[in-house]
């Protein structure tokens, strides 16, 4: 017995880090930080005009060089008022979509849960469209009272109602039925889209143009004002998510077991649902429906660093932001000088990826 335990102690010494992926996760997060910084710089430097981000940044930091004031004034305008807001918005939305996906997957205990896939985005869209179309008539008091916040707030409420409904329908006795979740998501999305359709039917020409532009999903038209209205919501929601990480890890063992481990499960679930709805709602409000970021990013990262949410959530934020910036770069340049809606780019890349996940999981997960 003593011999055995001594041998056991020696064995554990030699393999102390076995099965512990936290070091690898930290390295990956570090690399993702570098990657995001590169993506930000690249996005600032590239665009339809030849404005130089380098000189504009240098001017901003050290003051204008004598002799090139005229040029740098134009460059500054392009870089600071057109490209920079767009980059910031891209970072915020990419991070919010990816983290929302990861949190939802933890909450539903399923790697296929994604706000876009299960109707949360559709619910948010309904809220947003309601404000755009009815903002001047039925909802006029609301939109005049809330100003720029009316749109993100309505999108948030739409997403929240959908998520709550979905959770109630799909979860019973501590178990979430995946089939029910996906099918209920389809039904709720269809309902939300039908209601959205009614609103579109009621819309006038000017509203229709707003709607089309918005619905395709795009980061174009990013302004500091938009960032001001949805930025705080997204930042707040993202800041709350890391506190859920340990609880979501425990939830992987089931609700009852998470409770036995000391996790306040009900509070965790509602915090996660409200956080996801806020983040998705705010994102949808400014950029329309951008799909697949929430499912692709966490899935890739789980393959790389494992499902520990303490690392998965920050890594998802970083990779989601980087990927969305890159998708936006593609969207801006591939049909230049015109611009492709970014939702198309993420769908073209993301849908095959989703099918690939399904093929890999066939027989492993039980729908």
């Amino acid at each position: 017995m003593t011999d055995q335990s001594i041998a056991g102690a020696g064995g554990t010494l030699a393999t102390a880090a076995e099965g512990d992926r936290s070091r690898r996760a930290r390295i990956v997060i570090l690399l993702l930080c570098v990657g995001l910084a590169a993506a930000v710089l690249l996005s600032l430097m590239s665009g339809a005009s030849d404005a130089s981000a380098i000189s504009a940044l240098r001017d901003g930091l050290f003051g204008a060089m004598p002799g090139d004031e005229a040029l740098s004034a134009r460059d500054r305008l392009i870089v600071y008022d057109i490209r920079l807001p767009r980059v910031i918005l891209g970072v915020l939305i990419g991070a919010s979509l990816a983290v929302s996906g990861a949190v939802m997957q933890g909450l539903f205990r399923n790697p296929l849960a994604d706000p876009g896939l299960i109707g949360v985005s559709a619910g948010s869209s309904l809220g947003a469209v309601a404000v755009i179309v009815l903002g001047t008539t039925v909802l006029a008091p609301l939109s005049s009272a809330l100003g720029a916040l009316a749109l993100p707030l309505a999108a948030f409420c739409g997403g929240l109602v959908t998520t709550l409904l979905l959770y109630q329908i799909a979860t019973g006795q501590g178990r979430t039925s995946v089939a029910t979740m996906l099918l209920a998501g389809i039904a709720l999305a269809a309902l939300a889209m039908a209601l959205t359709g009614i609103l579109i039917f009621m819309a006038d020409d000017r509203q229709l143009r707003d709607l089309t532009f918005w619905q395709l999903g795009s980061l174009a038209g990013a302004t500091w004002q938009k960032i001001g209205s949805v930025g705080p919501v997204i930042v707040l929601a993202l800041a709350a998510m890391p506190f859920l990480a340990r609880g979501l890890n425990a939830l992987a063992l089931g609700e009852a077991t998470a409770g036995h481990l000391g996790i306040p499960v009900q509070r965790l679930k509602y915090t996660a649902i409200v956080g996801v709805s806020a983040a998705v709602g705010a994102s949808v409000a400014v950029s329309g429906g951008i799909g697949f970021v929430g499912i692709v990013v966490p899935h890739l990262l789980r393959l790389l660093i494992g499902p520990d949410n303490r690392y998965l959530l920050p890594a998802s934020a970083l990779l989601g932001a980087s990927l969305l910036l890159m998708a936006d770069a593609v969207a801006r340049t591939i049909v230049a000088p015109a611009e492709l809606p970014i939702g198309i780019v993420t769908a073209i890349a993301g849908a095959p990826f989703f099918l690939w996940i399904l093929l890999r999981k066939r027989g492993v997960i039980d729908l």
Binding site: T15, G19, G254
Partner: protein, 262 residues
Amino acid sequence: MIEGRDVSVAIGGRRIVANVDFAARPGKIAAIVGPNGSGKTTLLKALSGDFAYSGEVTINGRDLSTMKPVEAAALRAVLPQATTLSFPFTVREIVRLGLVGGRSGVLPGEDRRLPERALARVDLDGFAGRFCQELSGGEQQRVQLARVLCQVWAPVLDGKPRYLFLDEPVSSLDIKHQLIIMNIARDFARRGGGVIAILHDLNLTAMYADRIFVMHRGRLAANGSPQEVLSDDLIEKVFDCRLKVGVLPAGNTPFVLPQSAA
């Protein structure tokens, strides 16, 4: 002490457990036995706070229904009958989850080594890096037990006894590992903790339990020491089959031999 007074549980209008009085003392193993569907797991789930119950359940004198999850988690750990994992965690990552409440009872610096020590105790040395989903059923059961052990590593903390709730802890284990796991339970009790275990093997129960609670159709049919409880008549009535209870020459431990179905 874990005490249940007049505990009843109804699910969907049906009474699954009716008017059960229960007590698990520190230093002892309390076994719950009974045929399938007799309410064993439901009783355990009421005692661990998973199911709404009527009556009263106390842990060390405190009313369970007024305790927060984190407070209850500091006093007892629960091994469920089965655990389904939703993501590809490694064995080490699963066992570590037992430390989430931070009340294992070892010094903060030793926390990091605890998963390995717990795995060694359940005879899973060297499994830390494996993926849970690739393990056999019996191995997975032991991984979960290692996690549970981490949660209440010290059987007594701050002078208060702590408890292990084990729902069929040896159901998918070979005979050697059944004994290893039951020895862990006994060791936990000897060091001042309390154990509540649902068991099916009456001989294992006779060997290890200090007190046996026999469930029959949602009610408590008997409770007492193995010598008091294990009798031909009671077993035949409760399990609805013919058995012969004997006593080993050495010591006083009863054993049960099946004869035939009723």
